[in-house]
Symmetry: C2
Subunit: 264 residues, 2 copies
Amino acid sequence: MLGLVAGGGLLPVYFCRNAKKDGKKIITVAIKNEADKSLWKHSKEIYWYDIGDFGKAINTFKKLGIRKVFIVGKVRKVRLFSALKPDMRLFKLFMSLRNKKDSTLIQAVIKEFEKEGIKILPMTVYLKPLLAKKGVLTKRKPCRQEIEDIKYGFKEAKKLADADIGQTVIVKDKKVITVEGAEGTDETIKRGGHLAGDGAVCVKVARTVQDMRIDIPGAGVETIKQLAKANIKCLALQSGKVFLIDKNKIKKEADKNKICVVVC
Amino acid sequence: MLGLVAGGGLLPVYFCRNAKKDGKKIITVAIKNEADKSLWKHSKEIYWYDIGDFGKAINTFKKLGIRKVFIVGKVRKVRLFSALKPDMRLFKLFMSLRNKKDSTLIQAVIKEFEKEGIKILPMTVYLKPLLAKKGVLTKRKPCRQEIEDIKYGFKEAKKLADADIGQTVIVKDKKVITVEGAEGTDETIKRGGHLAGDGAVCVKVARTVQDMRIDIPGAGVETIKQLAKANIKCLALQSGKVFLIDKNKIKKEADKNKICVVVC
């Protein structure tokens, strides 16, 4: 039996399916208002907890004798900063942090599980096929200007990711138009498209030292829809470090909107 | 006779007043929808041009025999990216740019004036008293946590400013919550406050190599009002490099809202 803490998006669903195919039984702790409703279908048992119910989650796994847990899916950061009602255990953990950087928080959460004899395993175990591979995914290839902006954007995005600021930038004519902070990729795309007018590119990368256990950036059909709305026609992702969530759907949606998706 | 290209905000108004006190006559080219309406009171002559009428502006100064021009005030970047209707001269200039970074654009504009024998003078000539001086401006002093975040934010903001990305960051508990891109300070404050909840600080700096002729960051009463709305209680500015536009009003508005303003 394996444990799963499920955040938002489709990654946890894919995770469950793949683990089931491998003959594993999954006990899911699903985060209310984040996790996908369909998760119950793929889990042996499912518990819906509030984002702040950290102690409850740990105790559930302990009671069921689960020693191996995966943490998969996103949590909207706005909820961590303003809508969080932490239980005592999470509150203490927050108070002990040196800072509120993503990486600091993640490492603290992992440690807290480990204190209770629960190991956090890398989610890539059941999600490896989703990691983006080098190449152009779409019919349309990037034009020369876009290639220039992708190169420039990669360099800048790497710096920002490594400073633990954000992992997405919108670039046009070698100028960074918007930078992702705690507001997430979709908001950044929206703002960037509005400000840049035509011809911007979106670049998403991972940190150079990224804990591949639980914090892997991803792009999905929703990302493409946001790009289309924002009139941004090019998405570049870092190979081997970013999940492509449902490649075929991404390709279809991107082709429909003449967006090119490049993995480099 | 001195020339002035006037963008938005109160800086051009202060500039005119101070230059007049010094016995100078000012011919103003005011940017429509940006420059303050009251500028006519302080100018010998005023011409209202669209943001894209670059050639017209240069020709006006040439015709009047003006050889010394100041460029003062902000232009909302969103207008440069999406609402701009450049005349042929500006269009050619844009086409010749290596990239669309602020600093590249500014240097190209200065050069274009110089080609016509018009010198762009540093606006600090008549605005020096407005440059922020070290110290705490307000009744409330920053608390220990705020001091830590200011220090951290300064370091990060400097990196971002030097990469020509943005000059303002919102920080909380040593995490950068939002970064200014092309959307401007007010939008960044709004987003940061919404995401950070209580206790964030706002840090604004200049680039290490900033062309002090025409591109000096500023903070005014409006900045304080935005901070108050966003529930951000601390503003830190770089001394000698950022304009405090109307210090007394800033102080009053900040004290009213228990915001501390620190210049360091």
